[in-house]
């Protein structure tokens, strides 16, 4: 039973956590939070099951097909492969951590806040599991709404500006994608099932148009330079949990969409557009790191390093080599772990001091040693030090990308230096030196709840850093299939 409907269960089981939100009165807030947290562990358990049971055949596993709009050949069709499985598992892990992290930081409308995350989880899971473009689009739009409210209601001072910017940017892309989906439906045998679309042989010009529409929608989501300016604003204004999910999962929907749909459905157009994407990715890497360096706000700094990191991911996928694609796929996961962890940590210090300005801090290492240690571990993962997950991902991306594009890769590799400058300079100003501000002298170190939030992420950083094979093996055949599709194209 669980096996055959694992994906449906993963998508909709988060809704169980709505029950305590309805059942418990406000006076029993603690119990309610506990119940929500406990119920959010169910999707996590299912996620772990998915990881363990996922075989890695390279094809879609755990498929489910239920007719939906029968007259229109639209199906409720699910399935996962090596590109979607890790992201679904990551989603199931991050949501409970987000709930735990908001224990004391959210005071107003806690019910609404938690409910939105539950809906968000449904949307995200659905995006990764859908194998029918119609269903995909429904989930894609559905997850937009909770995020809009999360930023707009629980955000910082400029939350309205940030949330509208976020929605408008994404909507522009989504509308183009919708138009492309509709065109595909009528052009290609009136089916939106992924497998049917794969066998379509569209003329090159049509492929160009459709690829552009899809790629633009996803490029905004990634975000690729120059579509990135919504991200720093959204991150800065979003509450901690929002930032974590935004960086950890939502951005990955962009890179995931690129590989799953834009590249796979329109391979000929993709090959011609790849140089452009590579240039944008390389610019994003250098530009993001440089701009990150001069940010006065910690969250903005991390947001800009995200632009650089996602540039690496796109570069890896664009390489169309085994190592590049496998590395990019792994790095999607890694970025979710490391940057998610960074946003959690920034949230913890924000809760204490209510400022994110670097200049307000200094010398925190002597006041909060444990916090400093964890922050440094995550920092080193973010700047790709060997034995952390970040290194394996970036190394494989650059290694694979070097095969196809040595020059771009060399420029991108300089991001390894610039990223370190940005992060370590911030670390130096926040953690080292004497404690200058009176307000920082009495700060308390992390409490057990906060440590619990961080422990799983820290463990993953090292496990993936030392034994990436655990994941690479599961995704290997998917990557091979993807790469071979393009190799076959070349040989024609």
């Amino acid at each position: 039973m669980i096996e055959t409907h694992l994906l449906t269960l993963l998508i909709f089981s988060p809704l169980l956590a709505l029950l305590p939100l309805i059942l418990f009165p406000s006076s029993q807030e603690r119990t309610m939070k506990g119940a929500v947290l406990a119920l959010s562990l169910i999707p996590l358990g299912l996620g772990v099951t998915l990881f363990v049971r996922y075989y890695g055949t390279g094809g879609f596993e755990f498929q489910e097909i239920i007719p939906w709009f029968q007259g229109y050949q639209i199906y409720y069709r699910l399935g996962v492969d090596g590109f979607s499985m890790p992201l679904m598992v990551l989603t199931s892990l991050l949501v409970p951590l987000v709930i735990l992290s908001s224990w004391t930081s959210v005071h107003q409308q806690l019910r609404g806040y938690l409910a939105l995350f539950i809906f968000l989880e449904v949307g995200m899971m659905g995006v990764f599991a859908s194998l029918d473009l119609f269903l995909f689009y429904v989930f894609w739009e559905a997850q937009l709404i909770p995020m809009y409210f999360l930023i707009g209601k629980w955000g910082g001072e400029r939350r309205i500006y940030a949330s509208i910017k976020f929605v408008l940017y994404t909507m522009v892309g989504s509308l183009l994608m919708l138009a492309a989906i509709m065109y595909l439906y009528y052009a290609g045998g009136k089916s939106l099932s992924f497998e049917d679309l794969l066998s379509l042989n569209l003329p090159l010009n049509t492929q160009y148009v459709l690829f552009s529409a899809f790629a633009l929608a996803f490029a905004i989501k990634v975000p690729l330079f120059p579509f990135h300016t919504w991200l720093p604003d959204a991150h800065v204004e979003a509450p901690t949990g929002g930032s974590v999910i935004l960086a950890g999962i939502l951005l990955k929907m962009g890179t995931y969409g690129l590989v799953r749909f834009a590249f796979t459905l329109f391979p000929r157009a993709a090959v011609d557009f790849i140089p452009l994407l590579q240039i944008l990715a390389v610019i994003g890497i250098v530009y993001g790191s440089l701009v990150a360096m001069v940010q006065p706000d910690i969250k903005k700094l991390v947001a800009y390093t995200s632009v650089a990191h996602l540039g690496f991911v796109v570069l890896g996928f664009c390489s169309l080599t085994h190592q590049g694609v496998a590395g990019a796929n792994l790095q999607s996961l890694n970025h979710g772990i490391s940057t998610g962890a960074l946003f959690f940590l920034v949230g913890m210090i924000y809760e204490r001091r209510h400022t994110r300005l670097i200049s307000e801090y200094g010398g925190l290492a002597s006041v909060m040693p444990l916090f400093a240690v964890l922050f440094l571990i995550v920092t080193f993962s973010s700047i790709a030090l060997p034995t952390t997950n970040g290194f394996v991902g970036e190394f494989l991306i650059l290694l694979g990308s070097y095969k196809s594009q040595p020059l771009f890769t060399a420029i991108a590799a300089s991001g390894v230096i610039l990223g370190a400058v940005a992060m370590l300079w911030m670390v130096k100003r926040v953690f080292f030196g004497a404690v200058t501000s009176e307000k920082n002298k009495a700060l308390l170190d992390l409490n057990p709840r906060e440590i619990t939030v961080m422990v799983p992420l820290i463990i993953l950083i090292f496990v993936i850093g030392l034994a990436p094979g655990l994941i690479l093996k599961k995704t290997e055949l998917t990557v091979t299939k993807f790469v071979q599709r393009f190799q076959a194209l070349e040989n024609q």
């Binding site: 910017k165 408008l168 940017y169 120059p226 300016t229 919504w230 530009y287 440089l290 701009v291 360096m293 001069v294 940010q295 085994h322 190592q323 496998a326 590395g327 010398g363 290492a365 002597s366 040693p369 444990l370 240690v373 080193f380 030090l385 060997p386 034995t387 290194f391 394996v392 190394f395 494989l396 650059l398 290694l399 694979g400 070097y402 095969k403 040595p406 890769t409 060399a410 590799a413 300089s414 390894v416 230096i417 370190a420 400058v421 370590l424 300079w425 130096k428 953690f431 080292f432 030196g433 004497a434 170190d445 030392l466 034994a467 990436p468 094979g469 690479l472 290997e476 990557v479 091979t480």
Partner: protein, 657 residues
């Protein structure tokens, strides 16, 4: 390998060597964190026991391995513990390369490392971060051992960046001082610049071999496979070697990436001795010796290495002559000596490079620890002009320091004599003459500035009586390490006494199977013992007179020395300010990069062009269009009627006309 230790195959036992310090680091790290969080006192004896025992055990194990795995001479590669990264035909496993080269390095690292751990128990005894200090020191040994034992380039890179990280934390150990924290950051970033080259070299090797469709075996980047396929890398050998050397420039502080090392003296002195003199900074030399089979493919790269090496040697020695901070002198001296090692490997004399690496580890560690003992005894004073006459107060420190000065100055028969002699002889025979002249000059300068420091610190009259009166000799834990290292600084070179001096050239013969270059040995043989003898005699005389000059100037005729500086202020200032290299980097690279990022990229491109012009511009155009159109929707029925009428008329007109 059939050999067993307690029933465990030797290829598994070797992994214990780095594992031991790693366990020590984990233990002390936990202790440090728990004590900080709970504000409990640090259980010092326990911390000390674990911290010191782990390196000593690792040393014992390495010694055992050294005598055990001597044969076959070319060593062996262990099967991987597990495949670390494996995608398609790229494989990098956790496997070790055990041969004479890595074992000698292992001995130096664990041996000198153990001594410095012991010394540190005295030096750091009053520090609040005692457990934290040993955490990083043990962790450093772990990373350094991974670096030298690694059987492939990616694993070596793990150690390579790992030692960089430990160095970052240890330089900035006293992080409350923002300058010290900055020095750590600078070290890490400059090293990252070098690592960029290392990474690209790995990519280029992999790409070349993968495209030839060869079978990877243990992986294209494993040393065994590389050596087997070296012929296939012939065409790209020069870029590969140059890129790898960029990595070495960073790690081993060569021009133009040496700038981090003098600043790194901000760390505790034993750290400077271990990381920034004896072990980590020599990693570049080791890497080139390890990849000798690639470097010998590219004469261009070799010559480049030799030129950079000897230029750095001379350049840094010039700066060292006028520095007044005792640790800064030693730092520039290290940069200079590393240049010597690169000179050696650059001309193809890999054994001489490693030989000097070893002797240098002994005497430079001793010198640094000696300076640490002085600083400890003077409660933190580092300016040599405030010292003087310390010989009577700190006899053991003075004697051990003195012996090491003789060794580094290349006096017969101390350790430095033999290694420097070998380098200059091989350089003379194999390399361009101009490089040899530069090396020769450096040898004299080295003798000069080291004697200067010794004379200013220990000889003559005390110049600051208050400091002098409170000076004291260091405790036994510290002097013990000094004595052992001083003995090694004296006898350490005796394993390589050349045949021209009726020695048996043991070190070189022993390494010969590893570097099988017939041409090299023939050229050396051809040059003859007479040349070698003459050269070493001339060098010895030159160094001796330089040392004598410094001795007279700085212990007796201090006024002349001071006047000399006043007479040529320009030169003196130029040297004292280290040729203004830091300032040049600041103005040419750091500041422009910051300005461009802030003003051009962020505040202009991001905020003005993308956000204001495009994003908000689009929004405003939309809203303007909306407002214009909404004017039509006034709600006045009469207006609609007029518009309707006009529309109707236009339609009729269209159809009629």
């Amino acid at each position: 390998m059939q050999n067993l230790l307690l029933g465990i195959p030797i290829s598994t036992v070797v992994f214990l060597i780095p594992l031991l310090p790693f366990l020590g680091a984990c233990f002390n790290g936990l202790v440090a964190l728990m004590c900080r969080s709970g504000k409990a006192p640090v259980p010092k004896p326990l911390v000390t026991l674990v911290a010191v025992m782990m390196p000593v055990l690792a040393f014992a194990l390495t010694v055992w391995l050294f005598f055990f795995a001597k044969d076959p001479a070319t060593g062996f590669t262990t099967p991987p513990l597990w495949n670390w990264i494996a995608v398609d035909d790229f494989i990098a496993g956790i496997s070790f390369k055990i041969d004479r080269l890595s074992l000698v390095m292992g001995l130096i690292i664990t041996g000198v490392g153990s001594l410095i751990h012991i010394y540190s128990t005295g030096y750091m005894s009053h520090d609040a971060g005692y457990a934290r200090y040993f955490t990083f020191l043990n962790l450093f040994l772990f990373a350094m051992l991974i670096l030298v034992f690694a059987g492939n380039l990616p694993l070596m890179f793990v150690g390579w960046e790992g030692v960089g990280m430990c160095s970052y934390f240890l330089i900035g150990f006293w992080f409350e001082d923002p300058q010290k924290a900055s020095a750590g950051k600078k070290a890490f970033i400059v090293n990252r610049v070098g690592d960029f080259g290392f990474l690209l070299a790995m990519f280029l090797i992999y790409k070349t071999l993968s495209q030839k469709g060869l079978t990877p075996g243990l992986g294209f980047l494993s040393f065994d496979t590389l050596e087997r396929f070296r012929g296939d890398l012939f065409l790209v050998a020069t870029p590969i070697c140059l890129l790898l050397f960029v990595g070495a420039m960073g790690k081993s502080a060569q021009i133009p990436l040496y700038v981090w090392l003098p600043d790194a003296m901000a760390g505790p002195t034993p750290v400077s001795a271990l990381i920034h003199a004896a072990t980590m900074v020599t990693a570049g030399v080791y890497m080139i010796a390890r990849l000798h089979f690639l470097y010998t493919l590219s004469p261009v790269a070799m010559e480049f290495v030799a030129t950079i090496g000897v230029s750095t040697a001379l350049f840094a020695a010039l700066i060292a002559v006028v520095q007044s901070d005792i640790k800064k002198v030693l730092a520039y001296s290290t940069v200079s000596q590393l240049g010597f090692m690169f000179y050696a490997v650059g001309v193809g004399s890999f054994s001489a490079g490693i030989f000097h690496l070893m002797t240098h580890a002994f005497f430079k560690a001793c010198l640094f620890l000696g300076s640490g003992s002085v600083i400890h005894g003077l409660h933190g004073e580092q300016n040599v002009w405030k010292m003087g006459g310390l010989k009577s107060k700190m006899p053991i420190t003075a004697w051990t320091f003195g012996l090491s000065v003789l060794a580094i100055a290349g006096m017969f028969p101390f350790a430095g004599f033999f290694s420097k002699d070998a380098i200059l002889f091989h350089g003379y025979v194999l390399g361009p003459r101009v490089l040899w002249v530069m090396g020769f000059l450096t040898a004299g300068l080295t003798a000069f500035y080291m004697t200067r420091v010794f004379a200013l610190t220990f000889l003559g009259q005390p110049r600051d009586h208050h400091l002098h009166d409170h000076a004291h000799e260091s405790p036994f834990s510290m002097t013990f390490a000094l004595i052992v290292l001083a003995i090694l600084a004296v006898v350490g070179g005796w394993v390589g006494v050349p045949e021209s001096l009726h020695g048996n050239d043991l070190f070189f013969r022993w390494f010969a199977p590893l570097f099988p270059y017939q041409e090299f040995y023939e050229k050396i043989e051809h040059a003859g013992r007479g040349t070698e003898l003459t050269l070493s005699f001339v060098t010895l005389l030159w160094a001796f007179h330089c040392a004598l000059l410094a001795f007279v100037l700085y212990s007796q005729k201090l006024n002349i020395a001071k006047n000399l500086a006043l007479k040529c202020p320009r030169v003196h200032q130029l040297l004292e300010n280290k040729f203004y290299v830091d300032e040049i980097y600041q103005t040419l690279i750091v500041n422009p990069l910051g300005w461009v990022s802030d003003k051009v990229l962020w505040k202009f491109t991001d905020q003005k062009v993308i956000d204001s012009l495009f994003v908000e511009g689009t929004a405003q155009t939309m809203s303007l269009a909306g407002r214009t159109l909404s004017l039509l929707q006034s709600g006045a029925v009469q207006m609609y009627a007029i518009l309707f009428a006009i529309g109707g008329l236009l339609l009729i007109a269209y159809f009629v006309l």
